[in-house]
């Protein structure tokens, strides 16, 4: 029975950013998804697609004075996080739900040692924990992210570590409270590929041992295909396609997803020029009406300019929001 219930349910989430009294930017529109225990959900999209805003909403980390939530619910084990008071959220933040950011340096206090910060993270949620126990747990956490010489790392300051090491420490810090959900916002974007491979490998291993659910935000399709079980493609603040990872890469249905995959130069690609999506990513100010992708889409019709399409099931557990996905299906998807 437990297995059937999703750990996290995002229902019809919309987020507005108020610029001034008159104008509000629609950062996220009607986003819904479920996340089950032990599952990794990848959210892919380009800058300004709303992927980070969606995840920040889970812990209400968007700037409070400017953010409005016109609709939506975020149910974490049945509790609605979106309408909780900050005080009620505190025991959940960093404890049941943890985050890893792109630039680990900004998430650490440069004046304290790694050990201090790890122990602090533990004792914030368990004030009665003995110092010795906290130290043991920290040591174990650092060891679990495969940092050589963990005792020395606990005594060192963040700036003395390399980028890869810092990101490992961040993961250790996020995992130390054994969270049920880990949100990773572009965790490997700032790292070199060989280091990225190490970190991804580590995260997969941690997921396996602890059964943590992960939301993994990235713009890198390669990373997502190695990490995620399910993938959500976002564009212009909306979800345009959701599918299992292998299904998505072999049979993408949405023209945007197809374009995204095609514009990657894969090693066996023979052509002289890359296939591209014309135009540029619209900013939130000049988002077109209807389907936000309509001004860059080869299949766009009048319907696309008027209304955002409903989700249709293109295959089992593969939904797509496109009026013309059937037309796109026959032509697109070179990976097929």
């Amino acid at each position: 029975m437990e297995e059937k219930n999703p750990l996290l349910q995002v229902v019809d989430l919309s987020v507005d950013f108020r610029l001034n009294r008159k104008t509000a930017l629609h950062a996220v529109r009607n986003v819904s998804f479920d996340l089950y225990r032990g599952e990794t959900l990848g959210i892919v999209g380009e800058s300004g697609c709303g992927k980070s805003v969606t995840c920040m909403s889970i812990l209400q980390l968007n700037p409070a004075s400017r953010t409005r939530y016109p609709s939506g619910q975020i149910l974490f084990e049945g509790r609605d996080l979106l309408h909780m008071k900050q005080k009620q959220l505190r025991p959940i933040r960093g404890n049941e739900i943890a985050m890893v950011f792109q630039e680990p340096m900004t998430a650490m206090n440069p004046l304290f040692t790694i050990g201090d910060q790890l122990m602090e993270a533990l004792r914030v949620h368990n004030p009665r924990m003995e110092k010795a126990e906290a130290y043991e747990r920290s040591l174990e956490a650092v060891r679990s992210v495969k940092i050589p010489n963990p005792e020395r790392i606990l005594k060192s300051y963040p700036f003395t570590l390399s980028g890869g090491m810092r990101q490992r420490v961040m993961i250790a810090m996020a995992m130390i409270t054994r969270p049920k959900l880990l949100i990773c916002d572009e965790p490997t974007t700032a790292l070199d590929v060989t280091i990225q491979a190490q970190v991804l490998d580590l995260m997969n291993e941690l997921k396996q041992t602890h059964g943590t659910s992960i939301i993994f935000i990235t713009h890198d399709l390669g990373v997502i295909s190695e990490m995620a079980d399910r993938v959500l493609i976002m564009y212009g603040g909306r979800v345009c396609e959701e599918a299992d990872v292998d299904e998505l890469f072999t049979a993408p249905r949405h023209p945007y997803t197809q374009g995204l995959i095609d514009s990657h130069p894969s090693p066996d690609y023979e052509g002289e020029r890359l296939k591209v999506i014309p135009g540029s990513v619209p900013t939130l100010r000049d988002m077109p009406a209807g389907c936000p992708f309509n001004n860059r889409c080869a299949y766009a019709t009048d319907a696309c300019r008027d209304v955002f399409p409903d989700f249709e099931e293109a295959a089992p557990s593969h939904v797509v929001a496109c009026h013309n996905w059937r037309a796109a299906k026959t032509e697109g998807g070179k990976a097929e």
């Binding site: 590929v193 995959i261 999506i277």
Partner: protein, 333 residues
């Protein structure tokens, strides 16, 4: 073999680097005399034929940007020589260098910081035209700017906008238009697409390719993204900690990856189609890149190399595994 590697059998080269070396002072004593050095680049040799693209790959700190900057005289190399169509241009006086400044241009990594926020797009593109007095009057200048903007896929009416009014991809197009304003022959693209969104990257790469065909440009394409380098390059050098570890034509290196680092680098690049994922074996490297201030003696890769043994304490020699495919590793000597 080292001599052969340096001398470069490539006869019809256009731009050639011979043993380029760059050491930056890392720390200095009270009198400003350096006491230790950062090994930015060591003994970098290559030759690019006219109209071709040489890809440079490697991780951060491997010296790939340093190489590009040495070619453009942003850094003055501490050793080695640069030849441009046979002429040694390493130590030219500013006056003698002037024509080469015109012929060699750079497209920057970050389209956000490389455009002066106070100038309009048109003036940014026109700046090299003014510098080299390439336009006789204002009308000709405006006409040149318009032509460059069209060539790079920008609308000429955007000439009056300020950089912050453009998207990242458009800014990179402005950078490219500026680089092309002097009719250069050689362009260094230093991570020219890595700051851009995925769908925009492909547009810029296509633009660079089209321009190459149209203007017979020669590129030095620096990137950490192997897939992109593989797509755009004719020849490739792989760098690690300031040194070239493998060099050859793109196809030979891709087909027959020799150096353990090259293999690890290729395997670490995430694959995203199911077919690719299946064929792939992961080589996970241990540890971090060592500090370039004090690189390991002998083979610099040995601290992370899965095949390292005691031979690797000595500097490996170059070996030619097949024609024009050089590897610096004891496994092949």
């Amino acid at each position: 073999m080292t001599e052969q590697f340096r001398a470069n059998t490539n006869e019809n080269y256009f731009l050639k680097a011979e043993g380029l070396t760059m050491h930056f002072p890392a720390a200095s004593d009270a009198f400003g005399r350096p006491t230790s050095w950062i090994h930015g680049a060591d003994d970098v040799s290559f030759a690019v034929p006219k109209g071709k693209t040489l890809g440079v790959v490697g991780e951060s700190g491997c010296g790939k940007s340093t190489v590009g900057k040495m070619l453009l005289n942003i850094y003055r190399p501490t050793g080695g020589r640069i030849f441009y169509e046979g002429r040694d241009i390493t130590d030219l006086s500013p006056k003698e260098r002037r024509p080469y400044v015109k012929k060699m241009q750079l497209v920057w990594q970050d389209p956000y910081s490389s455009l002066d926020p106070r100038l309009r797009a048109g003036d940014i593109i026109a700046e090299p035209i003014d510098n080299f007095r390439l336009a006789k009057n204002r009308a000709e200048r405006a006409e040149k700017v318009e032509r460059l903007m069209k060539m790079c896929g920008l609308y000429p009416e955007m000439a009056l906008h300020y950089p912050h009014q453009f998207s990242g991809g458009q800014r990179q197009r402005i950078c490219i238009a500026r680089a092309l304003a002097t009719d250069p022959e050689f362009v260094v693209c230093d991570e020219a697409v890595s700051a851009l969104d995925v769908s925009i990257q492909a547009q810029i790469i296509n633009l660079l390719k089209d321009l190459q065909d149209e203007l017979r440009l020669t590129y030095l394409f620096i990137s950490h993204d192997l897939n992109i380098v593989h797509f755009i390059s004719d020849e490739i050098i792989v760098m690690y900690l300031g040194q070239i570890v493998e060099r050859g034509t793109m196809e030979t290196v891709y087909r027959n990856r020799a150096h353990p680092y090259t293999r690890a680098l290729f395997s670490a690049t995430p694959a995203f189609t199911a077919a690719e994922k299946k064929n792939k074996q992961r080589i996970l490297l241990e540890g971090d890149v060592p500090s370039p201030v004090d690189p390991p003696k002998g083979c610099r890769f040995r601290s992370r190399c899965p095949y390292a043994d005691k031979r690797c304490g000595e500097e490996p020699q170059w070996s030619e595994v097949e024609e024009n495919h050089f590897v610096k590793c004891h496994l092949f000597s």
